[in-house]
């Protein structure tokens, strides 16, 4: 209750406008009978063809489950008389559209924000409940976590759904409910990176017999029926949007690769990213071999695989850590809270409240963001975004990377001692 209340207090007034608009557009067009993957792919092609650069439109790039979860809440919002598109943008299509001055909101944005964030807030509350059953202290830390409140309540990100799905799938394996576990794990794949935990699940289930593994697989297949339907509907758009977009994306977020932003050269960045991918594959293989030989527990194995993603992915956005935070809190609270602090600091430095507060924007007219372009005459806007930004965020990225790697080694070491 406390967790839900804290998140609900901020939910109507704050939001990551671009990502919430993406969810809004996804449901809006899906209910109109459009294939959202086809729409996003069309826009992506326009961006890359017009710029001649390896760039994508940043739209809905996840499995369809999220849209299915959010749709009932959107229908309730519409039934209450809400504006179907409370957040609108117009003008040039670009990845940096969030900085575009032409972004408008209707007064219904407050009720929309509240309702669309409800599944994520409920997920956070269930996480607190599950953690509380095991360790009350851990549950309180998560419920009061400023990072979790910011990501779920303020921004409206859906990582809490991933975290809950992972927790549930592991709980259900403990209870021998393998089909349900497979379904729960399937829901964690809304964003594809939890797929890295699949070998860990398979290795764990292998020890429980063929029946367990087969049941889990059936559950996983059932959970992916919506994915298969959309894949069959327009394979090219689906693969480009859900898979290639993430693979070919330029480095961003809390990763040492962020330093490449100062390279100002997309081609060079792509080459270095490719080399980084090779190193990452080697690191991941080492982890899986270790899990295979070391008989590491399911919780540790899954935590290691998601932490690996946070350390080696070339895109590590502010919200990603939330998906593994409840697991890590149970294993290594000290490290979990240190990483939380680093992600929180980065989130506040990188985006701040300005771009996330519709109420503030209502008061000062969003077009004032043109200040950004006007100040450019003094080079201030350009310098702060392209020069000072990378210099400030690079040390945080480096330290976060080091802390995550050390945490992984610590988890591995304690698993070995046991």
């Amino acid at each position: 209750m406390l967790a839900a209340l804290l998140r609900l207090l901020v939910a109507p007034f704050l939001g990551h406008l671009w990502d919430i608009k993406t969810m809004q557009e996804t449901i809006y067009y899906t209910l109109k009978g459009e294939n959202v993957y086809t729409l996003v792919y069309t826009l992506s092609r326009r961006v890359s063809e017009s710029t001649g650069q390896p760039l994508f439109y940043e739209g809905y790039a996840y499995l369809p489950h999220l849209a299915l979860i959010l749709t009932p809440f959107y229908i309730v919002y519409i039934a209450l008389g809400g504006d179907p598109q409370p957040i609108r943008a117009s003008g040039v299509i670009a990845t940096g559209l969030v900085y575009e001055p032409q972004l408008y909101m209707s007064k219904d944005v407050f009720s929309f924000m509240t309702l669309i964030k409800m599944p994520m807030i409920v997920a956070d509350s269930l996480i607190v409940y599950i953690l509380g059953k095991r360790d009350l202290r851990v549950a309180v830390v998560y419920a009061l976590s400023p990072y979790a409140i910011l990501i779920t309540g303020a921004w409206g990100m859906f990582e809490s759904l991933i975290a809950l799905s992972l927790l549930l799938s592991m709980m259900l394996i403990e209870r021998g409910r393998y089909v349900l576990s497979g379904i729960a794990y399937g829901f964690s794949l809304i964003k594809l990176y939890p797929i890295l935990a699949l070998p860990v699940f398979i290795l764990n289930l292998r020890g429980k017999g063929f029946g367990a593994l087969a049941s889990f697989t059936i559950g996983l297949i059932i959970s992916q029926i919506p994915t298969l339907l959309f894949l069959l509907l327009d394979p090219q758009s689906f693969v480009n949007t859900v898979l290639l977009f993430h693979i070919l994306r330029q480095p961003s977020g809390l990763t040492p690769l962020r330093m490449l932003n100062l390279a100002e050269n997309l081609t060079l960045t792509s080459i270095v990213s490719l080399l980084h991918t090779a190193i990452s594959i080697a690191a991941y293989t080492t982890i899986i071999v270790y899990v295979f030989k070391g008989g590491v527990s399911l919780v540790r194995g899954v935590t290691l695989s998601i932490l690996y993603f946070l350390a080696f992915s070339k895109v590590v956005h502010e919200q990603y850590y939330l998906s593994v935070y409840p697991l890590l809190l149970q294993l290594r609270m000290r490290e979990a809270r240190l990483i939380e602090t680093l992600f929180l600091a980065y989130t506040l430095i990188n985006v701040g409240l300005f771009l996330t507060s519709p109420t503030l924007l209502f008061l000062i007219d969003y077009r004032l963001l043109q200040i950004h372009t006007s100040i450019v005459y003094g080079d201030l806007g350009y310098i702060s975004i392209n020069v000072v930004g990378p210099l400030v965020t690079s040390p945080i990225s480096i330290i976060t990377f080091l802390v995550i790697v050390k945490t992984m080694l610590n988890i591995a070491a304690t698993a070995q001692q046991r």
Binding site: R46, V47, E49, S50, T51, G52, Q53, L55, G91, V92, I93, A94, T95, G96, L97, Y99, E100, P256, L257, M259, L260, L262, A263, E264, N265, L266, T267, L268, V272, I279, R334, E335, L338, T373, V376, Y377, D379, Y382, I383, N386, V387, V388, P390, L391, S394, P395, I398, I399, F401, L402, V403, V405, K406, T407, L409, N410, A413
Partner: protein, 281 residues
């Protein structure tokens, strides 16, 4: 006394840290290496954003969401690593063809780049305009070409301009200066921080030019002509000046070149600080 196993783990931890640190330092050197490799060719760095850098000039074409800097031309002081000085900026928001703004009214923008040439094609409802930017070591050529005879108003902006074609702008505050049928526009600028400099726009055919103060410290230069083609050669030169070392340091820090030099140092400090945390965890 530490056990053999504990010593081995400590050594493993140190080796792991050393490998990771080296990787981070190598990554931090990439922007600088890239900058050296990218000399004298257009390089894409963001959504529709490109830059070109020679020893004397730097040209930046800003990304799709921005309406100014299309392109923005900078000049470096001779024999100096000092921050480059903005010479002139082409404003796509205020530049219009037949009353349609390049930035607000074009339906689509397409880019092509080869060696020192950047081609930007603006697609409007009933016509197309191609902007050609060719960068050389001493000058930049801006070309405008449309699919038919159209009315152009190309708007440039510059900072701290003092004089245009012999007219002292400080005597014309609040008023505009007009030049009819000219093929060359010389201008001078003076900045407390970076000193003074000169520049010129050489036009391929006679056009009407209107000069006025836009906002304080910013001069607007509008070229008006009717036709399908115009070429503008932009040249600039900055006089090196003596400024205080503090001013020099602060001003020099805020540019890409120095940021690229600073990054390995920042990475080294972060990696050293990381070692303290690494040992405590």
């Amino acid at each position: 006394m530490k056990s053999w196993g504990s010593r081995c783990r400590e050594l493993d931890s140190r080796v792991a840290y050393a490998v990771i640190s080296i990787y981070i330092i190598v990554l931090s050197l990439i922007p600088l290496v890239g900058s050296i490799l990218a000399l004298r060719e257009w390089v894409g760095f963001d959504t529709g954003a490109y830059y070109y850098r020679s020893e004397r000039l730097e040209v930046r074409f800003t990304g799709l969401p921005e309406g100014v800097g299309k392109p923005r031309i900078y000049v470096y002081m001779p024999n100096s690593s000092y921050k480059p000085v903005m010479l002139i900026d082409l404003d796509d928001r205020e530049s219009v063809v037949n009353g349609f703004s390049f930035f607000y009214d074009s339906r689509e923008i397409k880019f092509k780049v080869f060696n020192n040439t950047l081609l930007v094609n603006y697609v409007f409802d009933s016509f197309n305009v191609t902007k050609r930017i060719v960068a050389y070591n001493e000058s930049i050529v801006l070309g405008f070409k449309s699919t038919g005879d159209l009315e152009f108003r190309i708007v440039f902006k510059g900072k701290n301009y003092t004089c245009v074609n012999g007219v002292d702008l400080r005597e014309f505050i609040g008023r505009s200066v007009e030049f009819d049928n000219i093929t060359k526009l010389n201008f001078s600028f003076e900045s407390r921080l970076v000193g003074g400099g000169d520049g010129s726009l050489e036009l391929s055919k006679p056009v009407r030019v209107i000069v006025r103060e836009d906002v304080e410290g910013v001069t607007l230069i509008a070229l008006e002509f009717e036709g399908s083609e115009l070429e503008v050669v932009v040249r600039g030169y900055v006089e090196p000046v003596r400024v205080s070392s503090l001013t020099h340091t602060i001003s020099s820090l805020l540019n890409h070149r120095v940021a690229q030099l600073l990054l390995p140092l920042v990475a080294l400090i972060a990696a050293s600080f990381g070692w303290i945390i690494w040992r405590k965890l």
